[in-house]
């Protein structure tokens, strides 16, 4: 059948216009503004507030001052902590947990599956502040549920957010975001015909062989998509701030928290904050490019 346009290109553009206007006002304009800001010494208060000066790459030089940048509270340290956080909570935690749960309940029905799925999805949809508060309560040294349980079996009462802050937020974020990977993988698993698995079972494959030879290759595309999306999201996530405030002693200061502290705390250095935002944007952009090229390669090679 011949395909004919319902509207002319002009009318089509008219329909797009509201969306484009929103994108321009709320995305493009702030982006340009932040980019320009990053080359100035604009602050919220003080003399540079009304009269910012053009400082060229000074802000960027300060970020990449390699004499001090791995110290806690500096950009290098924030990048390192973010990387650990992303690998721990996104790649291993969320993707791993999502895949494991989806696989464990493959072709299974019943109360247990429904309960686990409901709990995982609940963790995902509850508002951030509520979740953060419950976790602070859960991890509390003296009155927390976790320590009450550990104490009951004689494992002591460690002060989680003080002694193991990074581990705590990694655990928190794994729990918080596993639902997306779980839903993605469980719907991907449903597209695998049961006969594929049954053929392997009759042929004599064990659980590991089934995973390696059938599940994994057939899910590869989904795993890739999931990895990149989760990486991007986790890279920018701010919620751990509600648990630790970036501390103690900046030990959980992710890049997002570092940006916030630089631009909206203390000196309110908008210029330097803008520089961090631009660098983060470039990192995100690079990740997105990798993702898009991998997807494209998959399409070509089927």
């Amino acid at each position: 059948m011949e395909r004919r346009a319902i509207f002319s290109a002009k009318v089509g553009f008219l329909f797009l216009a509201p969306a484009l206007a929103f994108v321009a006002v709320f995305l493009l304009y702030p982006f340009v503004r932040v980019f320009l800001l990053s080359f100035t010494n604009q602050t919220l208060l003080g003399t540079t507030a009304p009269n910012p000066e053009w400082v060229g790459f000074d802000n960027y030089r300060r970020l990449f001052d390699f004499d001090r940048w791995m110290r806690l509270g500096e950009f290098g340290s924030a990048l390192k902590i973010t990387t650990q956080f992303v690998i721990g909570s996104a790649l291993i935690g969320q993707v791993g947990l999502g895949l494991l749960i989806a696989w464990a309940f493959y072709r299974k029905k019943g109360v247990l599956r429904e309960t686990v799925y409901t709990l995982v999805i609940m963790a995902w949809i509850i508002p951030e502040t509520v979740v953060a508060f419950t976790w602070v309560a859960f991890l509390d040294r003296d009155f927390g549920t976790l320590n009450a349980l550990l104490d009951a079996v004689g494992l002591g009462q460690p002060d989680w957010l003080f002694k193991h802050p990074l581990e705590s937020i990694i655990l928190f974020n794994s729990w918080r975001g596993a639902a997306f990977s779980l839903l993605l993988f469980s719907s991907a698993l449903e597209t695998i015909p049961p006969s594929y698995i049954e053929t392997a079972e009759v042929a004599g494959a064990n659980a590991w062989q089934k995973f390696r030879d059938i599940f994994f290759p057939l899910l590869r595309g989904h795993i890739l998509t999931d990895l990149i999306l989760i990486t991007l999201w986790t890279f920018n996530v701010f919620t751990p701030f509600l648990l630790t405030g970036g501390g103690p002693a900046r030990r959980t200061e992710l890049v997002s928290i570092y940006t916030y502290r630089t631009a909206f705390h203390g000196q309110h250095e908008f210029g330097k904050g803008g520089a961090i935002a631009v660098v983060m944007m470039l990192i995100n952009f690079a990740l997105a490019l990798v993702y898009l090229s991998l997807i494209r390669r998959r399409r070509v090679h089927g």
Partner: protein
């Protein structure tokens, strides 16, 4: 190659009894078809053999080995699925060789054995391709090859031909039968197509609602259907089943619409004849009725409905009362018939079934 034995096997899914107390022996090297409509339990029976379902009661033996509770991997059978289940991310070589791979056979040995089987099945030129690059018929052969390379003790086929178009299906049918003759491996074949079962199997197991309705060679099942279900299921076109009342004293059969058929000696020859006035069903195959343009002794009147030329034969449908009776004529030329015709059943070849559907003889 092994005998497969079912002893009082029951399989339930919730409140549904999918396999209802089935006892069955499939001989070594035998080709057995499980035949029945959807939901009759034939596929569940096959999956019980494979170990993809576990029986709730009874025992299943392969050879002398009780496999009732063994996992599929320990049963050493090979299964071919309706959708072929070829892995899209593997070449045909790797697909066929997969059962060998999971058993730890080396890559070189795998390639050797796969090539050997592929040559026998005439797909050796396709080994480097992916399943998506193969036609339906080629995919079907590849999935059979995967079963053959396995050197299993039994082949299990789950409607392997139903995804093929009609012409290819006949070709693949002949190929499968020939292959089974050559290899002599015990084969269980699930189908809902009675012609397929007749053509392929040494014995047919006709199932309905989880129960076995009849077991026999294709000819036995065709010539002596044990009940109205088998009678109506086997044969194309199916047997004419006329319900009515037996008037044993008068030697007559009165159809529900009062049409009277003179039964001659039929009741008298039966060792277990119906009671006088009993509700019975009279079964007559379409080829056991002759059609006449003029009134004929012992013939019943009917109105010509349609004539269907089938090529080598001709089917004639005649309305008798409220019933449509099919007559099969072994002639390619459709007969010229008036609207009013007379049907004469060959009563020696007819079947009498009781109200419960079981045959009286």
């Amino acid at each position: 190659m092994s005998q497969i034995t079912f002893e009082n096997v029951v399989k339930r899914f919730g409140s549904v009894v999918a396999v209802d107390n089935v006892t069955l022996t499939i001989g070594e090297g035998e080709f057995v078809a499980l035949l029945g409509p959807s939901g009759c339990g034939k596929t569940t029976t096959l999956r019980l053999i494979a170990g993809l379902e576990l029986a709730d009661q009874g025992r299943i033996l392969i050879g002398d080995r009780d496999v009732t509770y063994l996992p599929p991997a320990a049963r050493d059978v090979a299964m071919v699925f309706q959708d072929y289940a070829l892995y899209p991310h593997m070449t045909i070589l790797d697909n066929i060789g997969y059962p060998l791979k999971v058993r730890g056979v080396s890559r070189a040995e795998r390639a050797r054995r796969v090539t050997e089987v592929a040559r026998e099945l005439q797909i050796a030129n396709l080994l480097e391709r992916r399943p998506s690059q193969l036609s339906g018929g080629q995919q079907q052969r590849a999935s059979v090859a995967r079963a053959v390379v396995h050197q299993a003790v039994a082949f299990l086929f789950d409607e392997p031909l139903s995804n093929l178009d009609a012409q290819l299906r006949l070709e693949a049918r002949a190929f499968l039968k020939h292959l089974q003759n050559e290899l002599g491996v015990t084969t269980v074949y699930v189908t809902h197509d009675q012609a397929e079962a007749m053509a392929l199997a040494d014995r047919i197991v006709v199932m309905r609602l989880g129960k076995i309705m009849q077991i026999g060679t294709p000819l036995e099942v065709y010539r002596n259907p044990a009940n109205t279900f088998v009678a109506s299921f086997i044969g194309s076109p199916p047997m004419n089943l006329l319900s009515g009342t037996a008037l044993v004293g008068q030697g007559q059969f009165v159809m529900d619409d009062e049409t009277v058929i003179d039964m001659g000696e039929v009741y008298r020859r039966m060792s277990r004849p119906p009671l006088d006035g009993q509700e019975i069903t009279l079964g007559i195959r379409p080829e056991h009725i002759t059609i006449h343009a003029e009134p004929h002794p012992h013939a019943i009147p009917g109105q010509l409905y349609v004539v269907q030329p089938m090529g080598g034969e001709t089917l004639v449908n005649v309305r008798v009362g409220s019933k449509l009776v099919t007559v099969r004529l072994f002639q390619d030329e459709p007969p010229a018939l008036p609207d009013q015709v007379w049907l004469k059943p060959a009563l020696d070849a007819s079947f009498v079934y009781g109200a419960d559907g079981e045959r009286l003889s």
